[in-house]
Symmetry: C2
Subunit: 151 residues, 2 copies
DNA sequence: CTCAGTGCTTAGGTATACTAAGGACTGACT
DNA sequence: AGTCAGTCCTTAGTATACCTAAGCACTGAG
């Protein structure tokens, strides 16, 4: 039937349910973002953490792991990379010494802002070429899907 | 416990540009999908490959690596996992014996369909609870973003 | 003051990605 | 024919990021 498969944009065919379309698009975008990443820089997860800390202030490890939908042990490793690079610090929570508060260093905050801006250049350029209606659809979809992902 | 930050859905604040919103949403969804994955099953990339092969028929390794925005060496490893699990086979291209055609086995095709359906259950349920307008916005956003990711 | 529960970390394993290097093959030019 | 640059694929070694399991440190209740 579908011999001209190359026009299908790999997974966004109509036969797939909406969930499948979302999953395909997310996978493609995620890998695309990763392929744009210059070497010697922070990974996406580490950068996300830095951005959250910058916006929200210090967070405990468990909070961060829940934010990212990741096991605490995984987040601990990501935080290790940030602290050993000097972009974040761990501080024992004075009220409950089982907890550790993670916060950005000034260098970490600067890096988060700078790297985000740089990495978004390509994508922003693409998005600004779209019609306002299309941009609005994307804005709405992002809000909806973020809510779903975080639930 | 609950700071004001927990209502922000982590990255979808208005101050971020559209590119940043997309990136945040993609990261959250990708990790969420991964966290839903049962153990002992194929990874997302391997499953994507299986799905593409099922839809499009045999592809060369280079084609697959371009589809996924990944280096050929990386795709070779993913294909190794599929072939060693019996879900795909490599066939030398009779016209150009440098090339290798990768195709699904019947088991691979079955698995691709079954696993996709199973993994999409959660997401489809969420999406069907949305209004038709919201669903349409997501459909449109997926198509647009897939095109951008693949360009 | 004991002890179950909570928060974090380390250890070991998997999936996925990269670069670098090399083997096999093709096609074009001597 | 013979050579050889270019293409396609693979393997090897390394890095990020995720997991579960195990264990330590601390808290708070009995």
């Amino acid at each position: 039937m579908e011999t001209e498969a190359s026009r299908e944009h790999l997974g966004t065919t109509e036969e797939a349910g909406l969930g499948g379309q979302v999953r395909s698009a997310v996978g493609l975008l995620y890998r695309r973002f990763r392929s744009e990443r210059p070497e010697g820089t922070l990974g996406d997860t580490a950068l996300d953490v830095l951005t959250w800390l910058h916006k929200q202030g210090p967070r405990t490890l468990t909070q961060l792991s829940e934010d990212a939908h990741v096991a605490p042990a995984s987040m601990s490793q990501s935080v290790n990379r940030l602290t050993s690079a000097g972009y974040a610090i761990r501080t024992p929570d004075p009220n409950d010494r089982r907890k550790v508060l993670i916060s950005t260093t000034p260098e970490g905050a600067d890096l988060a802002l700078a790297t985000r801006a740089q990495r978004n250049t390509w994508l922003d350029g693409r998005l600004q070429a779209l019609s306002p209606e299309d941009q609005h659809a994307i804005t709405r979809a992002c809000a909806l899907l973020s809510t779903i992902a975080g639930s």
